[in-house]
């Protein structure tokens, strides 16, 4: 299990993703999602949770915010939700890998807020 949270500090949106991985196949077998914020953030998280089903962690890391935004037709400042989701995916994968390498089952979950926040600014400008 890996948990990743991304928070946009300007907009206050929160995306929390939990992924469950089958250790034998290395595939993501279950995705749990919590999202708070504007419509694009929630839609992005929802779409990403579908994309994450049955793929490897390497493929998960390939999911980029701009792809999610393109798939949903989000433009300009409305893309910030998609970028937040990208951060949450990365955090969840990192969290899983940390736990795996340290052998600790209940490691701290990884929260990414700085970079998502910076991305926000980038899109707005």
């Amino acid at each position: 299990m890996g948990t990743g949270i991304a928070e946009g500090e300007i907009c206050g949106d929160i995306v929390r993703l939990q992924i469950r991985i089958n250790p034998a196949t290395g595939l993501i077998v279950a995705v749990r999602l919590k999202a708070y914020g504007c419509g694009p953030s929630i839609a992005s998280a929802s779409l990403a949770s579908e994309w994450l089903q049955d793929i490897t962690l390497e493929s998960a890391l390939q999911i980029k915010g701009h792809e999610i935004a393109r798939a949903l037709g989000l433009r300009g400042s409305r893309r910030h939700g998609a970028l937040l989701v990208e951060q949450a995916i990365r955090a969840a994968v990192m969290d899983y890998q940390c736990k795996k390498s340290s052998g600790v089952s209940e490691a701290n979950k990884v929260t990414v807020s700085g970079p998502a926040n910076k991305n926000n600014l980038d899109v707005v400008v």
Partner: protein, 395 residues
Amino acid sequence: MDCHATTPTDSRVFKAMVPYFTERFGNPSSRTHRFGWEAEKAVDRARHHIADLIGARAKEIVFTSGATESDNHAIKGVAEAYCDRGNHIITSVIEHRAVLASCRRLEKRGFKITCLTVGKDGRIDPNDVRRAITSETILISIMTANSEIGVIQPIAEIGRIAKKEGVLFHTDAVQAVGRVPFDVEELSVDLASITAHKMYGPKGVGALYVRRKRPSIRLTPIIDGGEQQNGLRSGTLNVPSIVGFGEAARLCLDEMFAEQKRVRSLRDHLLDGLRRNISDLRVNGSMCHRLPNNLNVSFPGITGESLVMGVSDIAMSTGSACTSGSNEPSYVLTALGISRELARASIRLGLGRFNDIEQVNYAIRIISRAVNRLRELSPVYESGSVGANSLSREG
């Protein structure tokens, strides 16, 4: 159900307008032939209907392009005409942007602006108005009813204070006129902005009521040209729209009381239904001093914007304008002391003439389902409290 943004043009209004696009196309300023006379007569009739609706006289109605122009004209026109008497204007933090931006513009030119705050219920304390008046005060501009929360201000009391102190009183009455009784004499209003498209008339036409007696208001024009409308507002009159405005006003005067009652019961039914299906729901602003058609509610744990997106077949809007990407919550709601999170959690519903009970029941069902679904998804609601910071951050 977004009747605070605009209303559909009533088919009876549209029917009245049609001939003035085609066979009766005259310019009311043409004094030399029957086309002009015909148009002038039609404009005159409309002026009377609008004056009747607000208890004014026909010659006190100046047609404009809409309420934004009316607000600009009232504030800048008074400021310029009375600048020899003083340079202080009193307004409130919850005014429409047309008023606030006009005041801000004047501030840059040296005027002093006092922005009164409102109470938790969204109302201005008339005593605050009295206290804010100085020897330099020339104008008070307070809206009659707010476009987001529908809260009705104590206009009659403010009007009395203004009259006693010899200060002019302007009110942006856009949301109120046609929905609730509004009488410029009873309310001691000197200037009032109104618009057609909030009362089932066409867009692009509004009016400014300018008192002509006790006292007669001096107003500097902001649009110069052919001296139409006694030089107060130049420009060829938009005859079809004015005819529509007049017809819309006539219908409002005829039907207001019955409609007010019907819409109020629909609104109350809507609130009851939402309350039954959604556990934690908060009404923003006073419920008793409120337009009969307005509802502004917050659903803790979710954002109004995601809700509005989630129920695409019901037209409603967020109290907060989420357009900039910074998601700034509504300045009206935050002025009531409502937290940013709760302000973001709000939606505004405005019922109108063409809504019926089936639509309201449908809205209750759809909105409740969407709110509960979004709450299930929300990491903020799960933790039992509202606020983005309620999630513990570890690591």
